[in-house]
């Protein structure tokens, strides 16, 4: 097991493995998202209260979940990179930031599109919405800090520290609907015992969620490979790789 981890941490091995995973994850994501979208947007029954506007749930909820999930991954990878000085972890962390920021943005946009018919306004300053907006700023902060530091090794370590500090925001987002009584929907899907949602609605939602996951895996590995090539451009294996054979 340790040997496997050690091998995976070697840049060249990671580069090859990631290269093989990317197409699988990419195609998987595409198929699942298409299936989920068809099922959700066309097949699933309309909600008895909200009519068709509820269908935005199939984008909003997975995107919102991803925005939280990716942040945790980023902070964890950052911490690993910081403590054990593993270059790959640093790269994964920094490659995640823009993806996470886009999902956050997507969650915000779909949420406020949904808010207009539901609450009659694009935006209210309630706890969940505010904390999600803060999440966007945190992502932007991580990216800005990374961009501002010249030496990329230092930059990723600085960005990692910021990401770790920002983790406090995650439980706030998640529990905000319970801690404060807010306009936003309480937990519907993620209640442990029994989800209070019809199974015909749940399945496409879960398929979309898995599709988004695979999309993340594919893009983060792609970004990580690029970043890796750039950082290791002087090493022997990269030189051999780009040498025309």
């Amino acid at each position: 097991m340790m040997r496997f981890i050690h091998r995976l941490a070697s840049p060249k091995y990671f580069y090859d493995v990631a290269g093989r995973i990317v197409p699988w994850a990419g195609w998987g994501a595409l198929i699942l998202i298409l299936v989920g979208a068809y099922w959700g947007l066309v097949e699933a029954p309309a909600d008895y209260q909200q009519g068709d506007s509820f269908r935005i749930i199939y984008v909003h909820v997975p995107a919102a979940w991803m925005s939280l999930f990716i942040y945790v991954v980023m902070a964890a990878a950052g911490a690993i990179g910081l403590v054990w000085r593993i270059k790959l972890a640093e790269i994964i962390a920094i490659a995640s930031a823009p993806i996470g920021a886009s999902f956050t943005f997507l969650a915000l946009v779909t949420g406020s599109l949904w808010g207009k018919p539901m609450w009659g306004t694009w935006w209210v300053w309630d706890a969940r919405l505010t904390s999600e907006l803060i999440l966007l700023f945190l992502y932007l902060g991580v990216m800005a800090l990374y961009g501002a530091v010249e030496d990329k090794r230092m930059a990723s370590r600085a960005a990692a520290i910021l990401a770790i500090v920002g983790v406090v925001n995650i439980p706030i987002i998640h529990y905000s609907v319970e801690w404060w009584n807010t306009l936003h929907q309480g937990p519907t899907v993620t209640k442990l015992d029994k989800p209070s949602i019809a199974p015909e609605m749940l399945w496409p939602l879960l398929i979309m969620a898995v599709g988004f996951q695979l999309y993340y895996v594919a893009t983060v590995l792609m970004r990580a490979r690029v970043e890796l090539l750039e950082r290791e451009r002087n090493s022997r294996w990269v030189q051999e790789l780009v040498q025309p054979r």
């Binding site: 803060i134 700023f137 902060g141 800005a144 230092m154 910021l162 500090v165 920002g166």
Partner: protein
């Protein structure tokens, strides 16, 4: 002769920073002045409708406090970085996180405490009811150290960057938001005669967390920024 004990070194560092602040005593009242100016600019910009002011009052005081803290943050490490004394701190015989704690404490004494002292006056200017004043002071007393502590991490991360002033605010302001929300909601609640215990407890918990975590994070950030 062996090295001084760490608490003694911290005390000396605190003394040094206070001395430096005293040497620049004309600048000392700057954050304070800024605080007062913002709090008075708002009525000018917003118009002097006193019912409006009363609702907005606690928010304005707290936003002003937050910006005053933000503006004075730079002084925590910036000048030490520029003249090379920060390197000397990092190479000292004591744990860096404790030295950072001493520096942050000095910063709070110089910028936070005056705000607390002058806040009742501002409260009057913004027609905050007098029964809410003790809560206003208490929320500032619990909240401003948190601002200094979180800010120190941000400054430590950006100290190597030129013109970091604004990137700093991008990093730090999101983390300030919870403090702002709980503190101003405490004052709001007090103005309406509601209990304020929960909010103040949460602020106290934030303070404890910040005191124990922020110095470590700031020390790690400094190590990254300097190398």
């Amino acid at each position: 002769m062996s090295a001084l004990s760490t608490p003694r070194a911290m005390a000396l560092l605190l003394r040094r920073d206070l001395l430096l602040a005293y040497r620049r005593r004309a600048e000392l009242i700057n954050p304070l002045l800024f605080f007062v100016l913002i709090a008075t600019l708002f009525p000018l910009g917003v118009g002097a409708d006193s019912r409006l002011l009363q609702t907005a009052g606690p928010g304005i005081v707290w936003v002003a406090a937050l910006l005053a803290a933000l503006l004075s943050l730079d002084s925590v490490f910036r000048s030490d970085f520029e003249d090379g004394t920060l390197e000397q701190l990092m190479l000292s015989a004591h744990p860096v996180s404790l030295l950072v704690l001493a520096k942050v404490f000095a910063h709070w004494l110089v910028t936070g405490v005056p705000l607390i002292l002058v806040s009742p006056l501002i409260g009057v200017l913004l027609s905050i009811p007098s029964r809410a004043m003790p809560v206003l002071v208490a929320s500032l007393a619990l909240g401003t150290p948190v601002l200094s502590l979180i800010g120190a991490v941000g400054v430590a991360l950006t100290v190597g960057l030129r013109r970091a002033g604004i990137i700093l605010s991008l990093l730090v302001l999101p983390l300030y938001v919870p403090v702002l929300i709980f503190a101003s909601s405490a004052v709001d609640a007090a103005s309406s005669g509601l209990p304020v215990g929960p909010q103040l407890y949460i602020l106290a918990a934030m303070l404890v967390a910040a005191v124990s975590l922020a110095p470590v994070a700031a020390a790690a950030s400094l190590r990254v920024s300097l190398s």
